[in-house]
């Protein structure tokens, strides 16, 4: 009997899928419709939430893997968001001719260059951050919090030194301004791009995590890194790779976030980190699928409550997190632990 035939013959049992948490998002969307009243406003809010959710997911996905794989609480993740956004801005400003051009290809080329620079820059920075700041404090949570917070503060101050302390405009390419109109519904182009980028990142991550040996190692390492080492794999090297990839994704997310706001300050990373932490806690620490769902839920909640009850909007995501943790204390899709 060959391996292939063994695998085919053995394909008898499939895992039951836990779809209950996935249903929360459509339920939230449907419940919001009568509350919002106007279908056009409801569509606008929902698309805006999806775009926001995708950007938060891109930022949070690396952080959740970093925590899951090595138990590292990286409060300095915000530094990569901010530095990524500043690098992108630095690339975009001299390319103003391309950005203001009516040719979408030139717009996208400028954006691609900026995103690439941001990801490479934050990836390299992440490599240095892991070696210099994180490596000496493996397994020491309190020191991790203190030193990575310190790293964030230092990074923000270095941004002030390099780019100045004032608020900077983030130039959004011409072709991404405005909206596409379908009937009565207007869908902002940049938001649609953000959704596409988020879905692409999620799909690529799922393919890597489920179809490649590196992905298997990451998933196994999140669950029981000691056993991965006992099988002969050097998980420290894997962790460095995940840290670099997570930092690069934060750079990508930071660029998208700054384009969304069209301005940026050194504090842009710190501002978004509260939501990022809520997302990875709701999703289940270390779970990419949970992080994806958590990001959508947080963004939907923020947008709907921001419109319906602005006074509670600030607290709405905390309430969402409390509700979810009362239902599932380990998050929506907890990672099995040793």
């Amino acid at each position: 009997m060959t391996t292939t035939s063994i695998l085919a013959a053995a394909d008898l049992s499939k895992a039951p899928r836990d779809l209950l948490p996935v249903l929360i998002a459509p339920i939230m969307v449907l419940v919001a419709l009568p509350l919002v009243g106007s279908p056009t406003t409801w569509v606008t809010l929902t698309v805006a939430a999806l775009a926001m959710g995708m950007m938060i997911f891109v930022i949070a996905s690396g952080l959740t893997l970093i925590f899951g794989l090595m138990d590292v609480l990286n409060f300095g993740h915000g530094a990569f968001i901010a530095i990524g956004a500043y690098i992108a801005m630095t690339v975009l400003v001299p390319l103003s001719g391309w950005i203001q051009s009516d040719a979408l290809t030139l717009n996208l080329a400028a954006l691609l260059l900026a995103v690439t620079a941001a990801m490479v820059g934050t990836g390299l920075l992440g490599w240095c951050f892991e070696r210099v700041i994180v490596r000496p404090v493996y397994g020491q949570h309190l020191k991790q919090i203190l030193i990575t917070m310190g790293g964030l503060i230092v990074a923000e101050q270095l941004i002030h030194v390099a780019w100045g302390g004032d608020q900077k405009p983030m130039p959004l390419p011409n072709g991404l301004r405005g909206a596409i109109t379908i009937g009565d519904f207007a869908l902002e182009k940049f938001r649609l791009l953000a959704v596409a980028v988020g879905l692409t990142v999620f799909t690529v991550m799922q393919l890597v995590l489920n179809r490649t040996k590196v992905g298997l190692l990451i998933r196994a390492g999140v669950e029981n890194r000691e056993m991965v080492e006992a099988l002969g794999y050097r998980i420290r090297q894997l962790f460095v790779g995940v840290f670099v990839a997570g930092s690069a994704l934060a750079g990508l997310g930071g660029t998208m976030w700054a384009l969304y706001r069209e301005t940026l300050t050194a504090a842009i990373g710190g501002d978004v980190m509260v939501m990022v932490f809520i997302v990875i806690i709701i999703g289940g620490l270390g779970s990419v699928g949970g992080c994806f769902l958590g990001a959508i839920l947080v963004a939907l909640m923020a947008n709907y409550t921001g419109y319906l009850a602005p006074k509670i909007a600030v607290a709405s995501n905390i309430l969402l997190m409390v509700a979810i943790l009362m239902w599932r204390p380990q998050g929506l899709y907890p990672v099995a632990r040793r």
């Binding site: 009997m1 053995a10 008898l12 895992a15 040996k213 298997l216 998933r219 000691e226 099988l231 794999y233």
Partner: protein, 241 residues
Amino acid sequence: MSEPILNLQGVHTHIGQYHILQGVDLVVPRGALTVLLGRNGAGKTTTLRTIMGLWPPSQGTITFDGQAIGGRATPDIARAGIGYVPESMGVFADLTVAENMRLAARLGAPDAARLDWIFGLFPALKRFWQLPAGLLSGGQKQMLSIARAIVEPKALLLVDEPTKGIAPAIIEGMITAFNELKRERTTILLVEQNFRFAASLGDTVAVMDDGRIVHRSTMQALAADSELQARLLGLSLAAHQ
């Protein structure tokens, strides 16, 4: 007796402020199944973890196949040819049985003939090939844990209490599996509390107490001497049997 494949001399291990191993001298002969017995807390699991590099020894030497491995990183020790089945089984619950096995085959895809042989030993693994390991029963997880350790041939297998909490029917299957591994001349160091299981498999035996080896003999000699068993294993003997 054949030359030792593993030799521990004066090994001490500290875990935090606790001095767990206090000068372990242990010889594991090549091609034999050596059983490590002892009361709870005697240091058996710590001995296996120290050999694997999961807790570094604070003193002493560990030699495997002529190489000093004491204090080396766990992946390097595993790559030297040591397989490990921990007491907690260590299966990756979110990964399917197939993925667990694929991960354990570090040098490439699992060999088809060897996979066949493993399915012969543990048929349940074939049945639940695509099921997440977290959904398996305790016995099936133990089978997976052992199967994972032997998916590639290993010079030495460290197995920590494989019968703990496992149904008798599955233990019988495990005896068959370990006998198969013995026939394949795999060296095994087995930590066990179940004396009947240990006696049915062991070639040599070492008994630990308070972080030291206090007795070494053939398993046959210990199994035949109930007075010695009572003295070495004390009140826990009833539980062993």
